[in-house]
Amino acid sequence: MKEIAYAAPRTVADAVAALKQANGNGKAFAGGTDILVQLREGTRNADVLVDLKKIPEMTEIRQLPSGDWQIGAATPCHRIESTVPFAEGYPGIIDGVHIIGGWQIKGRASLGGNLCTSSPAADSIPALIAHHAVVKIVGPDGSREVPVSEFCTGPGKNVLKPAELVASFVIPAMLPNSSGCYLRFIPRSEMDIAVVGCGTTLTVEKDTIKQARIALGAVAPKPVLAEEAAAWLIGKPATIESFEKAGEIARKAATPISDMRGPAEYRTHLVGVLVKRSLMTSLRRLRGERVDVLHDKLV
């Protein structure tokens, strides 16, 4: 690794100032699980690492008076999944957070880091999109809010401008009779990258689907919404047949590549399977069932 300076600001404003001063050669640094490896391998470059973990608002998770949740972008995954009221209310987001890596990774890795790495296969992003999460971006020209669904623009690319950083996520309060789920298909259950990932949220009243949202990972240059499939579900009965049909429609939103993790055709097939299973799991959860997606047989 080449020589690098280290800054540990205490406020978001100071962090932005440090990034601005670095003039394009500064990198925001949260858990470091991606960036330290990339710096060492020379796939990324930086003169200054700006450590965000000493900034209180960036490592906090709290419920706002509105019922929404605010999660600091540098909050480690283990803290998110051990915040019981959040974990119980948002099992779909926890599904993604839980499999982001082994224990050692989860002690460091953050939602902000996962999002800013902007991998099409990022495990936390589809569920965040399905839950209508929004990020607060702070930069030299002030702050702005961007829905997570519009954040990534391509593999490793996103809407951040120079010296901007993602400060926090806001996840809207769950509607009644709603739940979510994230599933990914991989050959093993940990420390691997998704062949396909699928995050869903579902709202059901009297067995009729009122709202649905489906986000897919690893099947396009960035995480994508399967909007046609979600729209089709509205007003349909909450049954496995409806979810299967939604899965078929969702396959149209997938434009995957073939790589060592699987050929495009296989990935498209998996979209149908995962959408069906993820929606079914969301349904079971909103009816009060606890489903551990790593050990349940699913449907």
Partner: protein, 205 residues
Amino acid sequence: MVEPIDTTMRLGRRSFLKGSGVAAAAATVAGTMAEEVAHGADAAPPSSGPGAVEITLSVDGKELKSSIEPRVTLLDALRDYLNVTAAKRVCDRGTCGACTVLIDGKSIYACSMLAIEAQGKKITTARGLMKGDELHPIQQIFWEKDASQCGFCTPGFVTACAAVLAKNPKATFEDMKRAVDGNICRCGTYEQMFQVFEQLTGKGA
């Protein structure tokens, strides 16, 4: 029945290493560090480096100081600057788990953290789990069950197990398996490790 290993021989090998090659390497490192201190002295706040800065780490109950550049990972600082070698360098890219240490009780890859960030935190290596020369119960069971072959991954597995048991003394066999999600044994001693987990979770004989 597992053949007991001669502990005197095991400690003898460590003493031998400490007494020869490592000491010589440490002397060389100390020599280059004097120059790095001078280089780091101009570094103005709020950023440190890129030259070496004074770093104090609390490792296994001891305060250790050295002049270390901000780019140096905790793993490299422990092994190359502070002569603490219980955390092993294998993949050096946050995948294999051999460098696992406890940071304030949580298992973390020492290769994926900078030394400068670890200041003010309590760092525990597998060596620090021992009381003097007495093995920690987890280490004792690893030894009794012969749950290592080359042994390079073992300190990482032991610290990962220690982290989950400290957090939840009633951890189940499944919890133990998940706790070592991020550790790999290339010799494939998982069968014996499962026996360790059974014993640690009260299921074993």
